[in-house]
């Protein structure tokens, strides 16, 4: 049940009509049922995994709190870690590492056999395992109190708007919204409408059409492409993945608002970042902060020498790459981002993250240059992310460096599509960036808002892609 399908909106209509008639406790039970229905709609067998994760983490959190000392608490935390990471490992990484191990042993003359498991990757497993893990870790760190209501906790784990592709919510943020009566105040309907419409626009108009361009180019053997086509393919993919993922997140935030929840924003105009460090404060914020808090800082963060910090950054980003999937291309993508973050620190002593301004609305020529440079560095990493294999990525890179830059029909189509879809979108994002407020449009005069919504609606209606793609992040 995808957010860009009619069936989802029929489902949501049925959910919200009844939901608004119920008192708080009944709302929670009803939302839990709806969330399990939503998840089971893909494959009811997946429900057993989410239930297992929920039951174990619920009890482990209580045990951690009840444990008299850190040593005992750590044992219960370990159970949670082993279960969640074990599930992830088996379903997501087993086949990859088994194959790689066998391939590595073969040249040594060792023929081994490992059990062959043909497993379907459960939708959203990486998202909800990270969400539940953060809960037990936070309880262990005394940063959150465990809930005693199992059904409330089950709703925190399985809340359907953000279940399969995030944002990965922390218990300290989402759980109180489950347990306490909700009225987040503000303009729930207005904000929700904006997020939903803008999200659908980003997914259906931007991402799916850019996917058409990117697929046409990445599906063609590298030998048949020229440098310009590869460049356009990479640009198209950069906006496909941004539109796709941020579109999903926007819709999740929007329907969350309509249900009275305040989910975190996952993106903040990432392609206006002026450095890789800033990019990671604007891109997939819920994952980057998760990795920072539960991996980078426990590894030592920037508390040691520069080399030590660089090591931590590299480990964090490589694992962040692998979080996306078991593939060398994701690993290299993570490594590249690790290097982009680490190298300036190691050699130039760039200002630490805490002292870098979080937000720089004024665009000077120097900043513009940095934005363009950062965008292209990120695009380089996207090439690895999207390529079928490392060989494919390297072949495309060679093409980028070649002298052949003829304007073919494919390049003309791709370039035209980018101008038509992405240029107005970027202008709008630049306006949000200048205003420094993700909800700037909702505060604009109503006529402007209506005009913008009509534009979104007409683009969805007439300029959808002939071959829509699934949400990319569902596979993670």
């Amino acid at each position: 049940m995808l957010f860009n399908s009619y069936v989802f909106w029929l489902f949501f209509l049925a959910v919200i009509v009844v939901y608004r008639l119920l008192p708080h406790r009944a709302q929670n039970r009803y939302l839990l049922l709806a969330s399990y229905f939503f998840y089971g709609y893909w494959d009811w067998r997946f429900l057993s995994l989410i239930l297992a994760s929920t039951v174990v983490d619920y009890f482990m959190a209580l045990k951690i709190e009840a444990a008299g000392n850190k040593h005992d608490a750590r044992k219960f935390l370990l159970v949670s870690l082993v279960l969640n990471l074990g599930l992830l490992g088996v379903f997501k990484y087993y086949a990859f590492f088994a194959n790689e191990l066998l391939a590595a042993l073969q040249p040594l003359g060792i023929s081994a056999s490992l059990p062959f498991l043909e497993l379907i990757l459960p939708v959203g497993i990486s998202f909800y395992t990270f969400q539940t893990l953060s809960y037990t870790i936070d309880v262990y760190r005394n940063q959150t109190r465990p809930t005693r209501d199992f059904l409330d906790f089950a709703l925190y784990v399985s809340f359907f708007p953000q279940l399969v592709a995030g944002p990965i919510e922390r218990s300290s943020h989402l759980l109180p919204q489950v347990t306490q009566p909700r009225d987040t105040g503000g303009d729930q309907f207005r904000d929700g409408l904006y997020h939903v419409l803008f999200g659908l626009f980003k997914k259906i108009a931007i991402a799916d059409n850019m996917g058409l361009v990117a697929n046409s180019i990445f599906n063609t053997p590298a030998a048949e492409l020229n440098g310009l086509e590869v460049l356009i393919g990479v640009y198209a993919f950069a906006f496909q993945i941004y539109g796709d993922f941020s579109g999903y997140s926007s819709i999740a935030v929007g329907i969350g608002r309509w249900l009275g929840f305040d989910l975190m924003h996952n993106f903040n105009q990432p392609y206006f970042a002026a450095s890789p460090q800033e990019f990671w404060r604007r891109w997939h914020i819920s994952l980057s902060t998760w990795l920072r808090d539960y991996l980078y800082i426990p590894l030592g963060g920037n508390r040691g020498s520069r080399i030590f910090t660089c090591r931590n950054l590299l480990i964090t980003m490589v694992l962040g790459g692998l979080w996306h999937g078991a593939n060398w291309t994701f690993l290299v993508w993570g490594l590249l981002h690790g290097l982009l973050l680490a190298v300036p620190r190691c050699f130039a002593g760039i200002t630490p993250a805490s002292r870098t301004p979080h937000y720089t609305p004024s665009i000077t020529p120097a900043r513009l240059l940095k934005i363009v440079l950062t965008f292209h560095l990120v695009c380089l990493s996207w090439l690895f992310f999207r390529a079928e294999s490392l060989e494919h990525a390297l072949a495309l890179l060679r093409k980028l460096g070649s002298a052949s830059w003829e304007i073919t029909s494919l390049a003309s189509f791709g370039g035209g599509m980018i101008v038509f879809y992405v240029a107005p979108f970027l202008i709008y994002e630049a306006w949000i960036e200048k205003k420094g407020d993700l909800l700037a449009l909702t505060k604009a005069p109503w006529g402007w808002r209506a005009a913008a919504y009509l534009y979104f609606a007409l683009m969805l209606f007439f300029f959808y892609a002939s071959t829509p793609n699934e949400f990319i992040y569902f596979q993670f």
């Binding site: 399908s5 009619y6 069936v7 029929l10 608004r20 009225d183 987040t184 105040g185 503000g186 303009d187 729930q188 309907f189 207005r190 904000d191 409408l193 697929n215 046409s216 180019i217 599906n219 063609t220 053997p221 590298a222 030998a223 309509w258 009275g260 079928e388 060989e391 494919h392 072949a395 073919t408 029909s409 494919l410 003309s412 189509f413 035209g416 599509m417 038509f420 109503w446 006529g447 808002r449 209506a450 919504y453 009509l454 609606a457 007409l458 209606f461 007439f462 300029f463 959808y464 002939s466």
Partner: protein, 320 residues
Amino acid sequence: MNSFTSSFKSELKVVAAVLVGLLTVELGFGPLLPHLSLDLKHVLALPNIAERLQKAPHPRILCIGNSLTRAGIDPETLQESLEEAGIRDAGLAVAYPDASGINEWFFALRKYFLDPRGIPDLVVVITARDHLTDRPLALSRNSAYYCNGSDFRDVLFHELGSMDARTEFVLARYLKSYANRGRVQPRVFSRMIPRYQEFLLAQEQGKFKRRPEPGRPAPPDPDPRDPEFQRFESLLELGRDYGFEIAVFTAPMMKTYHLPSGALELIREKGAALVEGSALPGIGPENLPDGSHLDAEGAKVFSKRLGTELARLLLKKREA
């Protein structure tokens, strides 16, 4: 909960303005339709084509196909060829919606051409290799233009499995803008994006489909099942039910081909006629400039042969 309700009320004028905008688009779409594409102009003319055929003298011949038929039939040559072969004053109609196949032909036949006041004597299905094979229904166009009321209900309740498909099918039936929304983008892009048509042609020829890098094995066939021909069978049964003859005429392509064995069996079983036109003497690669559609010279050769074969069928029937 209060904030939701109050927010809804305050945002009502924005929602209303957007709905008025969309309604204006829907109302403005009707007059625009014939200008959206030549194909649509032709589709909208199908009731008139059917009416003319009803009023035409016997034998009434309906040729139905897609753009291969549009490019391949020269009506004057066909009429002359029929007359030369002894069929004088035949009523002739040609229906050729672009990118259509067995689904559209079946529904169009039922909706426009089976009025008891003037059922055709002969329906000629002009096809290439795969147009008779069962395929997923093009929901919007079939709902809006090809399905009659009972076909609409049949498809909606018995054929479509998913709620998404059903919703699309219903929306396209009642909203002109929805049914034709797919025609806007190519129209705009062909004016805005240089070499857009060239790209589309390459895409249609499968140039940008996933292929393995040189030296890599090809991915397995995603759908290795045998093709099915249920809709084609239903179309052949229409001939029996309504008392008209059916002839299947294969259109010339770059490479000689044969219809799938399942389709051939059905043609034999249901007593339809088959004329192999896929490799006609006098038509060469030079007559297929884009690889599949005939040029004017090729169309003359094809139409002449079609006329001769149809006349033979009709005379044989007359004798019988």
